[in-house]
């Protein structure tokens, strides 16, 4: 190491960084690497007592997953939740941002705060509340739907409706976060662009299509990627509201991983599921960034 003031600075830097690097290395990067090892062993409840009982099985866990119907159900459910819930959440977020950001609106700050509060609430508590809102007989939702002539739906008890019900709750819970980012994006669009469009005789809809949407492209990318990454990790909602049922209709990949790993202690299998999740998220993120670049 260099002597003198420069060396002193470098030494100080490493002291300052050491606690964070040790913690992140030891409790994040090391486990991630170990997870890869774990996924090629048959680490189970016996190995939990004595790690030497775990054996190398190569890609056996991955091969077994391919033949496991529950795995494919979990993959399907996770994509259902992310591909339907994700775009809907982004759309609702943009709609809310446009409403709250409209120039004619007074009390914009109040509306913004109200729309944002669901995001900071505790997911588990909110899932407990929504379980009752979805109650087939006494739930508020069916009561309101009855007024417009829609018969009672067993939201969480019917395999066809359970995932849509979870998606609706997720949109309600999460749109406020994206809304704030969209508002920031909207406010950074130069007013001159709108003025120019107005002078060219463009109506509100055309201004939205040809000024707002293209100018928001980077915001869309950020919001889209963050939302999808979060949605692929669906866990607490089905854990609390449905336990993954009915008929496995809401078992997500992370819930399946949790069950395999921490209920049945098949940690090798669970680690393989975790890497499938990682691969999905990575591929999806790269794909979204690529699509965005091609369009730009």
């Amino acid at each position: 190491m260099k002597r003198g003031p420069e060396g002193a600075q470098a030494r100080a830097a490493w002291y300052f960084l050491a606690p964070a690097l040790v913690l992140i290395g030891l409790f994040f990067f090391l486990p991630v690497a170990a997870s890869l090892l774990l996924s090629v062993t048959d680490f189970d409840i016996y190995a939990l007592g004595n790690a030497s009982l775990a054996r190398f099985v190569g890609l056996g866990n991955y091969a077994n997953l391919i033949h496991n119907p529950t795995f494919w159900t979990a993959v399907k459910n996770t994509f259902y939740f992310a591909l339907v819930g994700g775009p809907l959440t982004v759309a609702v977020s943009l709609g809310a941002a446009l409403l709250v950001n409209a120039r004619a609106v007074r009390l914009r700050g109040v509306f913004r705060t109200v729309y944002f509060t669901p995001f900071v609430t505790t997911l588990v508590a909110i899932a407990v509340v929504w379980r009752y809102l979805y109650h087939p007989r006494y739930g508020l939702l069916n009561y309101l739907l009855a007024h417009v002539g829609i018969g009672p739906i067993d939201w969480l008890g019917d395999p066809r409706w359970a995932m849509p019900a979870i998606i609706v709750m997720a949109i309600w819970k999460n749109f406020g976060y994206n809304m704030l980012i969209f508002i920031a994006g909207l406010q950074s669009i130069p007013e001159e662009l709108y003025e120019a469009a107005r002078i060219d005789g463009a109506g509100a809809l055309r201004r939205f299509r040809h000024v707002t949407i293209p100018q928001l492209a980077p915001t869309f990318l950020f919001v889209g990627v963050v939302t999808m990454i979060g949605y692929f990790q669906l866990f607490a909602e089905p854990y609390v509201m449905t336990g993954g049922g009915p008929l496995r209709a809401t078992t997500s990949l992370v819930l399946f991983m949790y069950e395999e790993g921490f209920r049945w202690w098949r940690m090798g299998v669970a680690a393989a599921i975790a890497f499938v999740l990682f691969a999905i998220i990575l591929i999806w993120t790269l794909l979204q960034m690529r699509l965005q670049r091609e369009r730009a």
Binding site: A104, V128, L140, Y239
Partner: protein
Amino acid sequence: MTTAAKPVVARSPGAAVLARGLLYGLLIGGAIVALLPTLWMISASFMATGEANSYPPHFLPHAPTLDHYRTLFSRLSLGRYLANSTFVSIVVTVLSLAVNSLAGYALAKLRFKGRDRLFRGLALGLVIPVQVSMLPLFLLMKSLHLVNTYWGVIIPGMASIFGIFLIRQYALAIPEDLLDAARVDGASELRIYRSVVLPVITPILATLAIWTFLATWNDFMWPLIILSDDRRFTLPVALAALSGEHVQDTELMMAGSVVTVLPVLLAFLILQRYYVAGIMMGSVKE
């Protein structure tokens, strides 16, 4: 935020009124949807046992009662879980502020070899879902005898890549002259950090503090995995367990949800300026 209304392009006054009415209709409808579940949760928590399960549903309790809160805090010892959550969240917040601010400042302002490579290496961690680390992390905690302890919950939350980035981003703006002046005066690097850097980065520390507190309070999956003895449960884990046992006691579970949600909701409402600043900073690209 308070831009004055610009003159609207020539439109008939009737259409303008209609547009404005539609706008406010949508806004208020949205506000009702956003608030209703939370308001119903609070209202139902004061209802008599069984009242929430009546048809047509009651929106307000006929004879408000505190019975469920009494049951929660006496028989079901929710006070204990409240204390656990408070303890864990405060410890994580305080320790992570120290750890992340030291690292974030060093990455922003101190010159050393490999700084950019280190920064890029850390950034890689942002794309790895945390669930990938959870299985070996549990085994590691087990070998350290930290399973079913508060430290088992606290330690993985103490340093965060996102937190370090947030601080670094903010610290980049500290004027070099300020630091050099202190160095010329013979101050040690730690001294500079304490008396020059910390006062300057206080706003971002407040932001990171409220973020970390809320995230730790609301966290579910890791505490669920690491805690097995119900005396150490945090509120969300305890509530999930209780709601499994007391599926029928709607009003009781609503009271439990209120106790879980209200502290973070209040913290957010009081400190929302700092919380929102974190979202804005987080969405800024390099």
